[in-house]
Amino acid sequence: MSTRTLPLLFLNLGGEMLYILDQRLRAQSIPGEKARKVMNDIIATMFNKKFMEELFKPQELYSKKALRTVYDRLAHASIMRLNQASMDKLYDLMTMAFKYQVLLCPRPKDILLVTFNHLDAIKDFILDSPSILNQVDETFRQLIDTYGSLSDGEFQLIRQTLLIFFQDMHIRVSIFLKDKVQNSNGRFVLPTSGPVPWGTEVPGLIRIFNSKGDEIKRTEFVHGGNYLLPLREGSFDLYGDRVIKLGTNMYSISRPVETHMSGTAKNTASRIKENAAPNPLAKEELNFLARLMGGLEIKKPLGTEAGFRLNLFTTDEEEEYAALTRPEELSYQVVSIQADQDQERNEELSRIMEEFEVAEQPRQSTSKGADLLAMMDEL
């Protein structure tokens, strides 16, 4: 649908990723200096100039799997390593959080405010690096340039494109369940109270005019919801109060990152279908990945620097258990195995995978879990 959707999808999912990583880095008591380095490295890679140029070119969205590969690479842009189970969980959390934000955003245009909330928070993550800060501001300006003049209709098309992307994803997230914004079936709760979107009236009034255009009658009716007028509109400037809270950081030490995996029957069936269908886009998608990731310049970490492994679960045992019990149809790797069967695609894919390898850290330098790293390599 809309060819202007990818930058918003990428930046918001990236923002959610950084929130989660930040929280896990603290929870795992990673030394401050290392944690700062990880955040700075990932943000610098994410907002790389060449990469942003590719991203902002008008294009269709690609599959969840293709996009995941990009985040997989991004998460490994520094000295931190994530194994398969943690990466799966990270991606589930990111996507469900952004799905919630897209679904709930009051006006289609507010999707831009959600993005600004993410970028505002990302700027706070950057420590002592004016050049990275500058990169983010540059993207800010690009967003304002690209999206500032779009009409409501065009924003609605972007929003619909995002909603189609997230359709049939019903993973339950404990933080949402606790806050009662998600039901146990994985669907989000839609409030029928609170402020109406900016520019909308509180429903309940009918005004009748005569043929000369004079108002001749007013009647009220009961709408069923309990709405108020919004206080003010959020700021679409580089700095300002965005007013809406969607897209801000919802994690803290006291609100840890957790997911409940749910493969409901419906969900499972549709996923299998998606995976089984021959994908005419597979090749195009690989080209896209190659092009996009060409822009992801990953600095080779120095061999002397000690890396570490981040766990999205509370304990290593939990992580291993999740890796073993994850329903196969929820695995994001299914398609790459299929792609292997195709000779032509295979070459392209292994070329991309080789690029991954280059980015890999020398193995002996990891302090822990070399075997888990090996698992990563086998992807």
Binding site: D152, Q156, Q167, T192, P197, V202, P203, S211, H223
Partner: protein, 311 residues
């Protein structure tokens, strides 16, 4: 259940609008996948923007609009009789290309809107596949969002087609060998997402949650309703009773009654009832009979069609 509902829809010659629905690309759409659109399954490269049955005096066609073009099927979806591809090169880079807005008009025309703001008028023969593009109406500034027509017996020369666009502009037309623009309502108050025509009254639903009634001939505003808290996705009119149905992203679906007194020129709208479809952003709502005694709704991420009946 959806399949059963689909049959039901087919028999009453109504249709469903399913904005987030998806279906197969290009020419390879099968009957089974037509049902898949009801189940909102996103599996392929081209998204279907709208599907509707077009009822002409001589035949009924099922028309689908998508990013790639326009597909016309026999009413049961078994045979595709016509395919019109959209030319992507006409639009500027970055602009999405799609067709949206479907209506049968006059004795033998089907009108379809495009993202360029054009309205394509197709001439449909009584039978066979010899469908031709007879006219292109270029009056809209923004992408066409919806088209509505009125097929009742009416005096010669009255308005029987209305088209709406993204910027909120409306155009009222008189169908015929050459379509004539009768009135043009300038854009105001955001995107007009849905439009209907009843007894010479234009009913328009907006992204802002408003419903407005206009006199089609003059373009005069006759009523303004703060109807919903979110984007209105669907409007439908039951032609025999003048009931109006509206569905929006605020999870509410409302039934209204329109009255039109030709002597006093009074046009009124009254609220009848509201139903809340819990936690569902409604994206399609239709009456199932011309009286408006039953209606069906569906929503985003919902694999069901919910049917309401008046007891």
């Amino acid at each position: 259940l959806p399949a059963k509902q689909l049959t039901h829809f087919a028999t009453v010659h109504s249709g469903t609008v399913n904005m987030v629905s998806a279906s197969a690309d290009g020419l390879s759409l099968s009957h089974r996948q037509l049902q898949a659109k009801e189940g909102s399954l996103s599996v392929s490269t081209s998204f279907v923007t709208q599907a509707a049955w077009c009822v002409l005096p001589s035949r009924i066609l099922l028309v689908l609009t998508s990013q790639k073009g326009i597909q016309m099927y026999e009413a049961d979806g078994s045979i595709m009789v016509y395919w019109h591809a959209l030319d992507a090169s006409e639009s500027s880079p970055g602009q999405a290309v799609f067709a949206r807005g479907i209506a049968a008009s006059g004795q033998r025309f089907v009108c379809v809107g495009t993202s360029l703001g054009h309205v394509l008028v197709f001439d449909i023969p009584g039978k066979g596949t010899n469908i031709t593009l007879s006219e292109v109406l270029e009056e809209h500034q923004g992408a066409v969002t919806d088209i509505a027509a009125e097929l009742r017996e009416q005096p010669e020369g009255s308005i029987d087609l209305v088209t709406a666009d993204d910027s909120g502009g409306l155009c009222a037309w008189r169908s015929g060998e050459e379509f004539q623009l009768v009135s043009k309502i300038p854009a105001s108050g955001g995107s007009c997402s849905s439009v209907r025509l009843w007894n010479g009254v234009i009913v328009a639903g907006y992204g802002s949650g408003q419903i407005r009634l206009y006199e089609a001939a003059s373009g005069t505003l006759r009523a303004e309703v703060a109807a919903h808290a979110r984007w209105i996705y669907a409007l439908d009119v039951a032609p025999l009773s003048g009931k109006l149905l509206s569905g929006a992203e605020d999870s509410f679906v409302a039934v209204w009654r329109l009255t039109c007194n030709p002597d006093t020129e009074g046009i009124e709208i009254r609220h009848c009832q509201t139903e809340c479809v819990m936690d569902t952003q409604i994206c399609g709502a239709r009456f199932c009979d011309p009286e408006g005694r039953t209606f069906a709704v569906t929503g985003y991420d919902l694999s069901e069609i919910i049917r309401y009946a008046q007891l």
